[in-house]
């Protein structure tokens, strides 16, 4: 029996789809059987980020409306891993095309066949959100260290707690340690104090994410990506709950910066030189 985890946030654009793609790929890389379910009907992105958009034949709405034989017909096997599949959303329909009860039934079916079912939740707290959480056992809340994102995450956690559902854990995404040190970005402690849920991982801001999305190759596969490294750690924690504690990956200073530091010259002076 597998675990059904919904990746949600409230606020849009914080990194839910990126997180779902990376966590799914990471879990597959670790040998687990995974299905990724895109619940963002009408604005589907998960297929793009995985590079699988050209292979879509049937989608979630077709499955629910029984236009195809079963969910198996709609599953798309990943390009790189045999043990990972995608169930895409429909692009030309809207979120009310699916009901929460239908999602519950589908998740129960998927749970029998896979170790992990990851659901990419749409932004918001309306019908799409309620569809996505209906069949889930656990929730991963993705947020940024930024006031609007944290406020919306608090709202979502409140909604989940009110239904006594999902045992939420937090991923703090797009973290810039330099800005945090300068006090220009909310610190992890600030976020913890407001949200008061366990942190599953901290993912730094990384330019390589953009390239990864455009190419359809999740960053977790790139050994040189800091965000990828963070996602690999989170995957480790998902597969082994007693794994290492959370650490922020700091940017490795450039070669010249290290030379200046070794010589005892401050960065401002070096830049004027």
């Amino acid at each position: 029996m597998g675990k059904v985890i919904v990746v949600t946030s409230g606020k849009g654009g914080v990194g839910k789809t990126t997180a779902t793609a990376n966590l799914g790929t990471g879990l597959a890389q670790a040998g687990k059987s995974v299905v990724l379910l895109d619940a963002d009907i009408g604005l589907r992105n998960l297929d793009l980020v995985l590079g699988l958009e050209n292979r879509i034949v049937f989608d979630l709405v077709d499955v629910v409306e029984k236009k195809c034989r079963s969910f198996r017909a709609a599953l798309i096997k990943d390009k790189r891993f045999d043990n990972m599949h995608l169930l895409p959303a429909a692009q030309s329909r809207e979120k009310d095309a699916v009901k929460p009860e239908q999602m519950k039934v589908l998740c129960n079916e998927l749970r029998q066949q896979f170790d992990f079912v990851l659901i990419d939740c749409p932004a918001g707290i309306e019908h799409g959100f309620r569809n996505a959480i209906a069949g889930a056992d656990e929730a991963i809340i993705v947020t940024n260290p930024e006031v609007s994102a944290v406020r919306d995450a608090d709202r979502v956690i409140g909604l989940l707690e009110a239904e006594e559902k999902c045992n939420p854990h937090l991923i703090v995404n797009r973290v810039k340690p330099e800005l945090m040190k300068k006090g220009q970005m909310l610190s992890i402690q600030d976020v913890q104090e407001i949200l008061n849920v366990k942190i599953l991982g901290i993912v730094p801001e990384d330019e390589k994410i953009l390239r990864a999305s455009n190419r359809g190759e999740p960053a977790v596969l790139d050994p040189s990506s800091r965000a990828g490294a963070a996602y690999r750690e989170i995957v480790g924690r998902l597969t082994n709950p007693e794994a290492a504690p959370v650490v922020i990956h700091k940017e490795q200073p450039s070669f010249m910066t290290r030379v200046w530091r070794a010589l005892g010259i401050s960065e401002e002076m070096a830049n004027h030189a």
């Binding site: 707290i125 309306e126 919306d152 608090d154 709202r155 409140g158 707690e161 009110a162």
Partner: protein, 264 residues
């Protein structure tokens, strides 16, 4: 013409509780009430009756209509429940017991005049904590004199909320509210009495709804931009240093919300 239900009845251990909707014409509600009594004669003559007026402000004329109707039908009125201080005084003056009780059928009134604030839309899945059922028996209270107001205030029911209120969650209660946790930004506490938060207040707190005099807000950490007491909204921006990391009490002083360090 479809008639609306302005009056609902409920059987409780202490007798019959009749709720009268706050926002309908009172005379019509009393007429429906009379009809209900006629249909359930045995019930009404056998059990004590309490009437819940919610936040409706009942004037002398309306009070007369109600009491006359009950007198005509031969129904004994045990007491009334009302969140409006003026209404309670009015009934007590006529020798009818009155207590603060629950917030009644309709939406909670956001101002002391009882005008309703827009409720959250029906679609929102938020879970406001519900007020407990009204007390089954009206406690024995003689006509309240000014000297006894302190004792009556102590007897006001208090709700204990044993968790942090997250954004979008709302607690409303006719008595006092104590929160063992934080009130996060976007959360609301609305109380007829005092509001005491043993944690951080970043959300909206409204005490003294319904006109209770001397209502206070107490917080271990008051970060919220505004505090509402009764009719007054105070913008207690944390300009003064002592607002952070110190227990603060807010109350009305000369028509404004004033804060003082608590415990000093």
């Amino acid at each position: 013409m479809i008639s609306k239900e302005y009056v609902t009845m409920k059987g409780t251990r202490g007798g019959i509780l009749v709720n009268i909707h706050e926002e309908c014409p009172f005379a019509e509600a009393v007429a429906q009430f009379r009809a209900s009594i006629t249909q359930n004669q045995a019930l009404f003559h056998g059990s004590p009756l309490s009437v819940d007026l919610g936040w409706r402000e009942v004037g002398e004329g309306d009070q007369a209509i109600l009491l006359e109707m009950l007198g005509e039908m031969g129904v004994r009125l045990l007491g009334v429940i009302s969140t409006s201080l003026a209404t309670r005084r009015l009934f007590e003056a006529r020798g009818v017991k009155a207590i603060i009780g629950s917030l009644g059928l309709a939406r909670h009134g956001g101002r002391s005049r009882g005008k309703a604030v827009d409720p959250p839309s029906a679609e929102e899945p938020e879970q406001p904590v519900e007020a407990p059922a009204p007390p089954e028996e009206i406690p024995a209270a003689a006509a309240v004199t000014l000297d006894e107001t302190a004792t009556v205030a102590l007897a006001d029911p208090t709700m204990l909320v044993r968790k942090t209120l997250r954004s979008g969650q709302k607690v409303q209660y006719a008595g006092n509210v104590v929160v063992l946790g934080d009130v996060n930004a976007g959360a609301e506490v609305v109380a007829g009495g005092d509001v005491i938060v043993l944690g951080n207040v970043r959300g909206t707190v409204h005490a003294g709804v319904g006109g209770k005099a001397g209502a206070v807000v107490l917080a271990l950490n008051l970060h919220a931009p505004q505090v509402r007491i009764g009719d007054v909204i105070g913008f207690v921006n944390a300009q003064k240093g002592y607002h952070n990391n110190a227990a603060v009490m807010a109350r009305i002083h000369e028509g404004n919300v004033a804060t003082t360090l608590y415990g000093n």
